[in-house]
């Protein structure tokens, strides 16, 4: 590789790193600015830096509640998906049964379903079931919307389980469910971890579903809370920036800590 080629390449890598990071840096800057004039320029940092914005948003604007709600919803959705999708993935990967192709096709079609389309009818159903303004009314549909991706990914993961392992266990007369729990699950643990992480990420980011289902302020998650700050808190951009950070910092930290697992999950469906 020539020197100039390498220079150009480094430049490209750098430009995209800035593209990715500058907006994040800006929010951080806005969140730790002292009460500064909105119109004095985006890059002025008045000392001393302070964390008052976080305290104010956390306690006064209800972000402690929004945060807990995001945790509750995202964790519930994750548990629900991790408990159900691997079973289906196992069936699709390792079992023969009538209608397999059709059922898998049904799940595949779900991969592309636009949530706004579903919500038009889902809303009425949730109302009939008494689930509007209820956590269950977000958790169940959210898990359902993530199901096609999860089943698809789990099928890919389960295909890697050696058939001999399962066959040996069947010879020993073990039940299928017992085989799944004692033999398959330990082998695919990393895959389950990836599934859990990605489900958590998507569930945490969801906006439309909680926006329409929740009416009570104390049930709303961070995404809805952050969006509603615009307009309600006027031009308190320090506060809005702090709210934004609260909404995404846990995800960034989680991603950086578990990068390998995330990447394995994201590529599981794509590469094969």
């Amino acid at each position: 590789m020539t020197k100039s080629t390498r220079l150009v390449q480094n430049l490209i890598l750098l430009v995209f790193a800035l593209y990715a990071l500058v907006p994040v840096y800006l929010v951080f800057l806005a969140a730790i600015r002292s009460e500064a004039d909105l119109f004095s320029g985006p890059l002025t940092l008045s000392w001393p830096i302070n964390f008052n914005n976080f305290g104010r948003i956390w306690s006064e604007a209800g972000f402690a509640t929004f945060f807990m709600n995001s945790v509750i919803t995202a964790v519930s959705v994750t548990i629900l998906v991790v408990l159900t999708a691997p079973l289906a993935g196992f069936a699709f990967a390792k079992m023969n049964f009538r209608g397999k192709e059709a059922l898998f096709g049904l799940f595949l079609a779900g991969l592309v379903v636009p949530a706004p389309s579903v919500i038009v009818a889902l809303y009425g159903n949730l109302q009939a079931l008494g689930l509007i303004d209820n956590r269950i009314g977000v958790i169940l549909p959210q898990a359902a919307l993530l199901m096609p991706f999860s089943v698809f990914m789990m099928r890919t993961v389960m295909q890697d389980v050696p058939d001999e392992l399962i066959e040996a266990a069947v010879m020993d007369g073990a039940g299928l469910f017992k085989i799944f729990l004692t033999i398959v699950v330990p082998v695919v643990k990393p895959g389950l971890m990836s599934l859990g992480l990605i489900t958590f990420l998507f569930a945490w980011q969801e906006y439309l579903l909680p926006l329409v289902v929740f009416q009570t302020e104390s049930l709303k998650p961070l995404t809805v809370g952050a969006a509603s700050l615009q307009g309600r808190y006027g031009v308190d951009y320090g506060g809005i920036a702090a709210a934004g950070l609260i909404a995404f910092a846990p995800l960034v930290v989680l991603f950086l800590a578990m990068q390998r697992s995330f990447v394995r999950g994201l590529t599981a469906g794509a590469v094969k």
Binding site: F39, G124, G130, I132, D133, G231, R232
Partner: protein, 434 residues
């Protein structure tokens, strides 16, 4: 067919799923759910007054307690519509708009008629104009509370420093704008990213070109939107935008940002309403002034845009006991003593408050000045479009106005688009007529 079976019919048709029984629980402690907009900052930020009045008026609920949800003023309108379609309206809500939208809710049976309570409590401060705007098919469905007015907030310091007098005619207004432009000061802080602020401006301009009669001829009569007076209003608005009356990129500036621009002393004026008086009064670093925009067309009497900021409405689903308690509670909230609290603690002037009362009560000069000027032209009051039109028309008005002032369409195109949406709404029976 009853409401509940009609509602679930398509569900049944499409899927054969049985609607589960809706949950109606009777608890020992009666709770009245209340949605209101009285936050501590933003639009209609009369939070301190509401806090105090809940303490004062809760005893009138006859042992029930209030479970309160504060919804942002802009958002409450959409939340309430969702609640109507989910059949989950709160017992009591302080929401907007009235007229066509309120009529739409009444039409589908979501609201409780309040005529008996009007009779029982004699809410005479609410005149026929407001009763009309809160009526559908001969019954009243709302108790309008907040008197809304539009005016021009201005920065007297900037006017003085630049030797510009407060305009009393439209020509003087235009001259003042030009003078500020020459000095490099933004004449009018205006931001329309939120899509609705321009609607208020247009409503005011329509009144000042067509007059109240001209507006009523279109809104309640057979006249078309494509008339000469409406065209003058559209042309005026577009020319303001084109000629630098507003900051650059106004379609990308938020309503709050525009207000901040004015409050920081970087713009000489901003044209908006009393619904943001609280924020203006708390945020201004200078003595705020307000004047009424003078008539634009010849022969149109002076006036300004009026309306009920919002109205109290009671859910049709509430039990009789809750309805009765809620009515007593509303009666307390709009009593003369409470009106004084709204004015003094919330800078919110309830409908029926007289200029004499305002003079005596302890509130800010800007509050007194705004209402004294605005209430002086009560016969000429103009309509606020997005609290009067059906939602289907409003949803055309918002984007079309952004295009009109952005210079993307001509005034004629704008009015034709409005007329088309208007005709469709009338065909669908969505129009409200007092």
């Amino acid at each position: 067919m009853t409401l509940s079976t009609r509602r679930s019919l398509p569900v049944l048709l499409a899927a054969g799923i049985t609607a589960s029984v809706s949950i109606q629980t009777a608890t020992a402690q009666t709770v009245v759910t209340q949605w209101d907009q009285f936050a501590m900052a933003g639009i209609t930020a009369a939070g301190p007054a509401m806090d105090e009045l809940i303490g004062t008026c809760e005893p009138d609920l006859g042992g029930a307690t209030v479970l309160r949800t504060i919804a942002p003023s802009i958002g409450i309108r959409d939340s309430y519509r969702l609640a109507v379609s989910a059949n989950k309206t709160p017992d009591l809500a302080y929401t907007w708009p009235a007229a066509s939208v309120l009529a739409g809710y009444a039409r589908v049976g979501a609201l409780a008629p309040l005529d008996d309570y009007y009779e029982q409590y004699g809410w005479e401060g609410i005149n026929d104009f407001y009763r009309g705007r809160n009526s559908f098919d001969g019954a009243i469905y709302g108790v309008p509370m907040e008197q809304d007015l539009m005016g021009v907030y201005y920065n007297p310091t900037l006017f003085e420093e630049n030797g510009i007098a407060v305009p009393t005619t439209y020509a003087e207004f235009q001259a003042a704008v030009e003078a500020f432009k020459e000095k490099g000061i933004t004449p009018i802080a205006f931001g329309n990213r939120d899509r609705w602020p321009a609607t208020n401006t247009l409503s005011l301009l329509l009144g000042l070109t067509a007059g109240k009669d001209g507006e009523e001829a279109v809104l309640f009569g057979d006249a078309s939107w494509t008339n000469d007076q409406f065209k003058l209003a559209a042309e005026t608005f577009q020319s303001w935008a084109k000629n630098g009356y507003f900051p650059k990129g106004f379609n990308g500036i938020g309503y709050d940002e525009a207000n901040a621009l004015f409050l920081s002393g970087r713009a000489a004026m901003t044209i908006t309403g009393t619904w943001v008086l609280q924020d203006m009064a708390r945020g201004a670093s200078f003595d705020l002034g307000v004047f009424m925009l003078p008539p634009i067309a010849d022969g149109v009497p002076p006036g300004t845009m009026w309306g009920e900021g919002s109205q109290w409405q009671v859910s049709a689903n509430a039990s009789q006991e809750v309805k009765d308690a809620t009515a007593a509670y509303i009666n307390c909230l709009i009593s003369p003593e409470s009106r004084k609290v709204w004015v003094e603690k919330g800078y919110l002037v309830p409908i029926g408050t007289t200029p004499e009362e305002l003079k005596q009560w302890d509130t800010l000069p800007i509050v007194k000045s705004f209402f004294t000027q605005g209430l002086a032209t009560s016969d000429a009051n103009f309509y606020d479009l997005h609290t009067t039109l059906p939602e289907s028309v409003t949803q055309v008005l918002y984007p079309e106005l952004q295009r009109l002032i952005g210079g993307d369409v001509t005034p004629d195109d704008f009015l034709s688009a409005m007329d088309a949406a208007w005709e469709t709404a009338i065909d669908n029976g969505e129009r409200w007529v007092p």
